[in-house]
Symmetry: C3
Subunit: 352 residues, 3 copies
């Protein structure tokens, strides 16, 4: 067992963020202050759970009813919002209360910042790997031959890179991420724990005589752009030839399956447990909900939205909202669902 | 390579459980014995696969037909069950044969018991972590700053705890489990291999000009109660603010996705590959089957049952059984399915 | 940090495959050559992406339109295929162009070959484990008591074997695979990264008084035959009693859930994100698409095909193609889908 003080630490203990008066807070956030100017704010919270000392916010009018009863010491609201007379704290007004709240979150709950320039003594790094001096290499990390790790990149404990992997600047790989050989990941990406990138695509040729399979070599790789975030325990398969690609700005939730030779267009976001079959290409700015399945070898246009649990069985050439299994334009699916709701009664009537 | 004798061992080799005569077995289990008293029992098995020397059981009358042909040397049956004359082994009678069988399983197939007080020499433990002397810390475990590990807790090989993680007494974390910072896990929990707890929730604000995203800080944590079991390769996201919570006695199967700010009520059980979207709250004693999806920001009552592959699109205020996509009361879904089965023929008739 | 030259290397740097003239290539592949005999071929690619120096192929007539515009220097086609006059490269003719192409892929893009006989200095191996001298044991691998590892088996970095695990000859376990105690894996298998084999089945007895659960001991194991491939981040649960079994030649894609006591018949293939509930038995040569769910305690015949997102709620006794939720013979589902497509209009008409 290795007991150590600091270089294993994800971050050294840091003093909590300094409390601010509502006056100081309104100045920092650039918002208008009404009411108490000297109340001390030390944290952030939701309307429902806020306590004395918390800043909260109201962005969605749906939750306006909670304002009267909140215990928050300050609330961010829209410029023209009429605050209940029962609310006793300070009021901070701005055109975008949620955005101002996010900036307060960053002040009061700063994310852990890992020390730069760490190479943990338990890491195993091939001699031909090139690692920027400012990168953070955690405990038990394994880095193969000819890998290249960019400036301020962070490899948390247990990350495994096979040979010839490239990791861009300021990219974070969380615990136990595995990248197979020749994986390329851009800059400022976040890959959450347990995700596997570059595993073999599911490619087998069936032997007609006995139904057994011969493996089709999967000799391509995975290429991931900049500013991509991938959730935990996802699987991104390498291409059979060429590359499986996630373009800049793609965001994937957890437990998502991306098959070989798939291309995900720029700034497309996909929710948890969705699967994309081989060689399918999603356009830019697609918004795909959870548990959706795409068949292989199809494409979607830019700006396509697909609702949860849909089964996309054909290409989608027009931007718009799609739903159902098989997926169809949203209005068609909603009409069908409305009819199905009445159907048992309709059938009974007509058969009487 | 480290070759070693015992402290890496999950458990030292142990002698197999001592064989018992049917007389001794009936005494140990507190059940009535009929027939052979001296037959030796050394293991347990199902009716179909049992061989000489095995104890088996019949709890479900559906399988009564297998009794005549079983090769088991002893069978546990209900007090009033009429055993086929073809069965030649010993008969053990009790009001709850399955429960008695489980106790026999515990005797004949004891679970591995890990040595207490082990800290493997390859583990990496931050100096500020507090680990109970009786805990078992396996090979290559990484423990961050200020973590607290309770008595007789077990961290199998490859477990990674970021900073400020708390693990309760007698809780077991299996191989390669990753807990992000500030995760709290209660006592007597079992977390299976590869599960990720505390990864960032899927929260991004869309930039309307170009469809790109700004990450919303996920600064909450995950809090798990006592007696919780979580299957392999699950993902439990941290809250954006506050905590994602699994209350006491919750049981999750494999490959389940729990999004940020979800709350799972006491003694609720969820089968494999189900996903719960952000801020949804399940009541107590819910029974959720596999591959179900829940939208975000809804609640279910206590004692709700949802069948497999359902899509729960709205809150469920009444206890009961629900099924379908969208989920509806079971009887409504079954009526719909019955109608759909006839529909192609009905339509053909009516259009003739 | 351990910096090292070669024994951590997944494979030593190797010279790229030697370029071949089309004449040499046709000889190597045993195919007929037409056109340029001295064009140099150094890689393989698809019709669409091929560049000068690439070999490509046409197996599916659907893509014949791409032949005219490809930049490939050589193309493999069927013996009697009429090649567009616009195509200027060499033509290689054979009865099975795809098979010949695969052999060319193996030549130009050889898979990494790991060094045999490696035991990385950071691995942790119990004294009672028996490891063949030709096996490859990567960095941070943990091997429990009494494990047996066959000839030329490969355990990549971070693999964890609990006690009494058996791994057959030439089987590859990728990074961070976890095998619980008594798992048995045959020869020539490939298990991709992050997969968990032998975790506890989801078995709990409900305590009727308060809805809490008592764990049912899961004392069986997992037995995997020869020539099985399992994708990344799958979960294969151990049996409650006896064994969960994957027979010879089974192929699983990523993120698949196999519950306790399931049996998957020889040469059956299953696509990503499918889940099989407890005690279900699939026949031989089944072809199961992605995101399918099977209820527990049912069986399928040999040669059953199930389409994507189906819910198999009852056993399937006849070979054939099945689709839908609940799954039914393909033609029944297609008739239903056709009717549902017209249904909103039909209902509107009949109610007018």
């Amino acid at each position: 067992m290795i007991v150590q003080s600091s270089n294993n630490a994800a971050h050294p203990p840091k003093p909590p963020a300094k409390a601010l008066t509502t006056q100081e807070l309104s100045t920092m956030l650039g918002v208008a202050l009404e009411g108490k100017t000297e109340a001390l704010i030390s944290s952030v919270n939701t309307l429902e759970d806020a306590e004395r000392g918390d800043l909260t916010f109201l962005a969605n009018p749906k939750y306006a009813g909670f304002v009267a009863a909140t215990n928050a010491s300050a609330i961010l609201v829209k410029t023209d919002f009429i605050v209940s007379a029962e609310y006793k704290g300070a009021i901070l007004r701005t055109d975008d209360p949620y955005n101002a709240f996010l900036r307060a979150v960053e002040y009061f709950c700063p994310l852990p910042v890992l020390e730069v320039g760490v190479r943990h003594s338990s890491s195993v790094i091939a001699g031909s790997a090139e690692i920027h001096a400012s990168a953070h290499i955690g405990a038990n990390v394994v880095i193969g031959e000819r890998c290249r790790i960019g400036a301020e990149a962070v490899l948390r404990a247990g990350v495994i890179l096979y040979d010839d992997v490239q990791i861009g600047e300021q990219t974070i790989l969380h615990g136990n991420v595995v990248c197979y050989d020749r994986t390329v990941i851009g800059s400022r990406c976040v890959i959450h724990a347990g995700t596997v990138i570059g595993s073999d695509g599911f490619g087998f040729a069936e032997n007609k005589n006995d139904g057994s399979f011969t493996k089709i070599p999967q000799v391509g790789n995975v290429v991931i752009g900049d500013d991509v975030e991938i959730g935990a325990n996802c699987t991104i398969d390498r291409a059979s030839l060429r590359s499986t690609r996630l373009e800049n700005g793609v965001k994937l939730d957890n437990l998502i399956h991306i098959a070989h030779n798939v291309v995900i267009g720029e700034n497309t976001a996909i929710a948890a447990q969705t699967g994309i079959s081989g060689s399918t290409k999603l356009g830019k700015r697609n918004r795909i909900a959870g548990q959706v399945g795409f068949v292989g070898h199809i494409s979607t246009a830019d700006d396509v939205i697909v609702y949860a649990q849909s089964g996309v069985a054909k290409g989608i050439a027009q931007k718009g909202v799609y739903f159902g299994a098989p997926a169809k334009p949203l209005m068609d699916e909603l009409r069908l669902q409305a009819v199905l709701k009445q159907l048992p009664d309709l059938i009974r009537h007509s058969s009487q």
